[in-house]
Structure formats: C-alpha cells, structure tokens
Amino acid sequence: MAGLAVTSLSLSHFRSHRSARVAADTRPVAIFGPNGSGKTNLLEALSLLSPGRGLRRATAVEMARLPESIGWKIAATVAGPHGPHEIATWSEGGAARQVAIDDKAATQVALGRILQVLWLVPAMDRLWTEGAEGRRRFLDRMVMSFEPSHAEAVLTYEKAMRERNRLLKDQRRDPAWYAALEAQMARAGAQIQSGRERSLARIARAQEGAGTATFPAADLALSDPEGRPAPEDAGALAEALAAGRRRDLAAGRTLTGPHRADLEATFAAKGIPARACSTGEQKALLLSLVLSNARALAEDTGASPILLLDEVAAHLDADRRRALHAEILALGAQAWMTGTGAELFADLGPRARRLQVSDSAGTSVVTTLDE
C-alpha cells in the first residue's frame, strides 16, 4: 500500500541541529547514535509537520537552538496519495510557529489535511498511570488523525471554556453572558464527544482479530470522573452547563463537559485495566493502539500515516522487535525509529534506510549510511 512519506527534511537551528538535511524514500528509517546526539530532536521536528506543539509539547522558544537562539525552521517535502507538498514551519523572535504549505501561509489545522503523524515516545510510558489529561490528549490526537476538524472543535471549546472560567473566577453573574459561551461550548463539545466515540469504534474495528502476544488488543471506553452519562447532544450539554453554574461558581471552574472525560483501557485478553498491567504490558498496549490507529488510517485514506517511534525497539526482545518491524513493513508505513545501536535494526537490512546521528562539539551531525 502506498503510504505517506517525508522524502526530504531540512532543519535549521532547531534544538541541537544547526543545519541538517535528510533525504528519504517510502522505506522505514532507522536512526541510531549515542545518548544526547540528537535523535529525538529529529523526531520532534517531524512531529511539527502535524498540528500542535509536537511530541515534547514544547514552546517555540524552547526549540530554538542555543546559544544563538535566533529562531528555527523546518522544511519538508511530503509525498502521498494527493501528490507532493512542500511544508515549512518556523518561528522567529519567540513568536508562535508559522506554517506554509506549498509556499502559501496556512493554519496548523491545515497540516492535518495533508498528512497524519502518529508517535510513541518514552514519556508516554506512564500514560495509563498518570493523570487523565495525558490520556485525553492521546485520545484527541487519535481523533484528529481521522477527523482533522476535531482540532477546530477542541480549540473552540477550550477558548470558550477559558472565557467561562474567567467569569466564574470573577464571580460574575450575568446569565446571558454565560448562556452565550455555553452555547458555543455545547456545539463544539458535542462535536468533540461524537468524534471521540466514532474514533473509538473505528479503533475497535481495526483491532478485531488482530490481537497477538506482541500487540495485545485493548478495549477502550470513555468515562466521566463522576460517573455521569455523557450528554446526548449539544442541547443536553448546554442544559448541563447551565444547571452546573452554581456549583461551578463555587469551584471557580467548569466541572461538566468533555474536558473532564477520561479514556479507560482494558487488556482485552486478561480483562485487566491498563493501569494494573505490567510496565511491559502497558507499553505493548500503547504500541498496539498506535498500530491499530495506523492500520485504520491506511484502510480509510489509502495511505498509512507517518510513525515516529522513539526508543521503542530498545524495550522489546528480539522476537517482538522482529514482529514490530514486520508489522510496519506490512503497513507500508514510513516509520522513523530511534535506538542507541544499529544492531536494533539489523533484521530490517536493506528494507530500511539508516541514519547515524552523532554529536560534534554541541552540534548534531546526521549521516546517511547507505542509500
């Protein structure tokens, strides 16, 4: 299956990379090099080809290369079913990052209509045991990969909610002002809720019959912290918000709505909640979900998404690693994978491109080992 592929990537003054150029084809890319050489930074740059703050959730300023800190730029050519596109994203003088698609200024949301980028990074190892916010973000990224307009709904909802929370904090009691904001939260919130439900159903279908020891299936469900059923539609959500005003005034923030939902996962074969699974099992569940998401996208759009797998290989034994590589090849996904040593990718042989990253006096150097 023809996948999406970043066929060229250049980084300028981005984190440890002063000036890096990488050419690629549709094959997976194995990136190896010592700790601190700049491998994750390379994946972070790729993650900025999708809407949002990237896989570290960093600010534009944090990504500017030190010590010069003059701003940064990432440029990429993306091949895919809709033909090639030139994407550039950059930040200058600490300003928010900007995006251009084919030399025309574009929104971040527009990136989601050109390519999908999914990632798995070590910071997500604690996803199932830490707060709900990380799981909601994981879920919403999944929804955005299927429905790019989900990003707009989330932004609208959050903006209207920040306004409402400010009214609550200021103890304002203007019912018309609340109603105006709640109407917008309700419309966007209902869209968020239904998008999440559709995506969970889609992931469930993609997992059907696909669960293996390496990539176990997970049953996913949305839950509410107070066990309330989700409002059926925008009207019901608007009512719930209006009814909650008094309680929200006391709390100084909004206590009802999709921003409170949690994602629950159960290791399907064992019936055990993800948070009670072993470290290795939790990681396997995540990997399996990312692969299901990729499989579903490949079926729906005809192109497998770009995968960024940071230090995934190191945590798998040789058999599981081979199974992962086989799955990626079967998907036809351009997976950018990192590890400290080349041997982690030896089984891929010429079926992957190999990039070596090293550090030279504080600057990352990227070398393509074979074409």
Binding site: T156, K159, A160, R162, E163, R164, R166, L167, D170, R172, D174, A176, W177, A179, A180, L181, A183, Q184
Partner: protein
C-alpha cells in the same frame, strides 16, 4: 539614510507605524510627498490638522466623524428602522463602501471577552437597548465577525434584545471563519446582507 535631517527621519518613522506601511515604503512615501510639496504634502498636512482638531466619536452610534453626531445619525432618511451592529468603525466603513445598507449602525468597539476584561458595559450594549426604543428599531442585523468572541457577542446581544420582540438577523456567512468584514469585497458584503437570516 537622510543623513542629518531629524525632521524627515521623524516623519518617516511616524509613517512607518501606519498599517500597511513598513520602514522602506514609508521612506518612499515621504520622498514622494516632498517631491510633490504643493500638490500633496501641504494639502495633506492641512487635512491632517483639520481632522486632528475635529475628529470625534458619534455620541449616538460610535462612528467616527467630525461632529458630535455623525452624518448617518444626523440623516433622517437613514431612520429606516434597521440597525446594523458592527464590532469596529472599520467594519461600518466597509459596509458603507458596499452601498447596500440604508439604515443606521451601532459600533460596539470590540467583542465580549472576559479574559480581556471587556464586558457589556464596555461595548455600549446598554446604550444599544435604549436606542432600539428611542429610534423605534424594527430589525437588528448582527454583522459581527465569525470568531469565537464575535459569536459569543452576537449570542449575548440577541439574548438582550429578545424581550423587546423585534426581528434579530445575522449576516449570512459566506464569510470564512474569523474573516473580518473590513477585508471583504463589496460584492460579498452585499450578498451576505441580502441573504441575512433570523437568529
């Protein structure tokens, strides 16, 4: 560089602060003004002085004119019973450029935003309710931008005037989300006004 003429440098620096002009285009504009001293520079200076002395907000609608009551509020022919609500004077002028709307305006001077401490009082909304009674308004047309704050404000105003029992409509939005009225061409504004719909 204009080498040693602080007066000209000052003029360039001021011009460069205008919207649409940068340091380079300001330099070019100033050069042109000086070359056309009699035809451009002197009349411009006089026109600016006159406006500086007289420009003011209309006490009734918030439009900017040179009298306490603007030309639109002072013109009895524009008392059609239709009142168009805009965020900004620039939006009012954009509507006027299209020559389609025959009624009067109410300029809010912004949008509701709790985060920016802009409430109904800051937006002349109480005055709006008074005007609807005083000027026997029969239809209020909301011509606010399709941003989140613009939509919130439209919703709020609709709620405020609903008890008055008059028609409340909104410009049909062939307008992109966040697209500002001031940036639309006259044809789009005309079409949006003709196809206005009840809220």
């Amino acid at each position: 560089m204009t080498q040693g003429s602080p007066e000209i440098e000052r003029l360039i620096e001021l011009m460069a602060r205008l919207p649409g002009l940068g340091p380079r285009s300001a330099r070019r504009a100033v050069l042109q003004l000086i070359r056309k001293r009699g035809a451009l520079l002197v009349p411009l200076a006089e026109a600016m002085q006159a406006v500086a002395a007289t420009a003011q907000e209309c006490v009734n609608c918030g439009n900017i004119g040179t009298d306490s009551l603007c030309g639109i509020c002072g013109n009895a022919a524009r008392a059609t019973g239709e009142l168009c609500i805009v965020e900004d004077v620039a939006d009012l002028w954009a509507m006027e450029r299209a020559h389609v709307f025959k009624g009067r305006y109410h300029v809010l001077g912004g949008t509701l935003s709790a985060l920016d401490s802009v409430g109904p009082e800051e937006l002349r909304i109480p005055r709006l309710v008074e005007r609807i009674r005083e000027e026997s308004i029969s239809e209020v047309i909301l011509a606010l931008n399709a941003t989140i704050d613009g939509l919130t404000t439209a919703h709020y105003i609709a709620e405020q005037i609903e008890p008055l029992g008059i028609r409340v409509t909104s410009l049909a939005q062939g307008v992109p989300i966040g697209g500002e009225l001031d940036y639309l061409d006259e044809g789009t504004i005309t079409a949006a006004l003709r196809a206005r719909r009840a809220l």
